[in-house]
Symmetry: C2
Subunit: 203 residues, 2 copies
């Protein structure tokens, strides 16, 4: 049913749609509204930054949601720390992707199950902050329908903050985001210096 996301017509339509939704959001919220933040690029610190913002939100007494789209791309330290705290709804969905075995159908099904959880949060104004960790990777592999994801993000509650992390953020996501930071590698301990990855930092 959906047109190709990459056609100029579809892009223009999305931009027009975005403008309309933004106008609605601004009309509803006047001075305050949730921010869609994308953290991308090859440098280290994308997920950590998302988790730091999550801590900040908790510090302000907000209810938060986390969906990790890629399990094992990351330390389990955050999970150990955050998942049982009050106010935190934490889901690790990406366990067992078959990057190597190439059972694509299974991977798509898992990513879609993860999006199902994310979508529930994006439909619920009780969540003031939602972290979609490594969503960009699931989009990169076309495990999810990009247009459907963008629509759900744009239609979320007006005060809800969303942080999306992962390399290779698609341009269409950057287009609808409020703030985008690219993490650039200046120097990398393990590439440059052969130091073993550590729990605690694991950079």
């Amino acid at each position: 049913m959906r047109e190709d996301a990459k056609t100029p017509a579809r892009h223009a339509e999305r931009m027009a749609r975005k403008q309309e939704i933004m106008r609605e959001r601004i009309a509803r919220a006047q001075k305050e509204q949730g921010v869609l933040l994308v953290l991308t690029g090859p440098g280290k610190g994308k997920s950590s930054s998302g988790f730091g913002m999550l801590a900040r939100s908790l510090g302000h007494g907000m209810k938060v949601g986390v969906v990790q789209f890629i399990k094992g791309s990351f330390s389990t330290g955050e999970e150990a720390f955050f998942r049982h705290l009050p106010g935190v709804d934490y889901h690790v969905m990406g366990e067992g992707y078959t990057w190597d075995t190439q059972d694509r159908e299974r991977d798509v099904a898992m990513a879609q199950a993860a999006w199902h959880v994310a979508r529930r949060m994006l439909n619920d104004p009780a969540y003031h902050f939602v972290l979609l960790d490594e969503l960009n990777i699931a989009l990169r592999y076309d495990y999810l329908d990009l247009e459907a994801v963008l629509d759900d993000l744009m239609q979320r509650p007006v005060m809800q903050h969303v942080v999306v992390t992962g390399r290779y953020a698609p341009q269409a996501l950057i287009d609808i985001a409020d703030t985008v930071t690219e993490m650039k590698v200046v120097k990398h301990a393990f590439a440059d210096q052969g130091i073993k990855a550590q729990k605690g930092i694991e950079l």
Copy 2:
């Protein structure tokens, strides 16, 4: 007593010294050692990333220290969230810098008091992770002796991780760091779109 930090001779000496210390560290630790990570650049997410790593360290049951060199550059959400957790030693030192009034002597005294606290952590192997938030700014304004700071960082316990945040990381700090990420602005909500800063994210 100290030579100019910027002379090539001092640089070569520092590099030779670093090599020696690195060799000692490697001899002591073989496979594992603490990492010195610098998060710099104009993009958002530097401090958040440091706090995310702090959460990860706590998730692994580590004792952690935080010294915030610039109060008010940042949300108090992290402080509210982290400062009373067990295992967290949290100091906000930079309150009341006189950027505008230019009482430089007072600013230097405050930065040095902050470094005194940081130094105590850097001398104590009980701290597995130390976050020196916005230290780069204090260095940028020459509120601290750069060489003394570098020496203290290099002589810290072999397993201790340190994260230094802030724009304008000095090159000499980058030289001794294991991992350096530069946060680049791709898009900024408040610069580009006029959205009011929010508690919770405040980007």
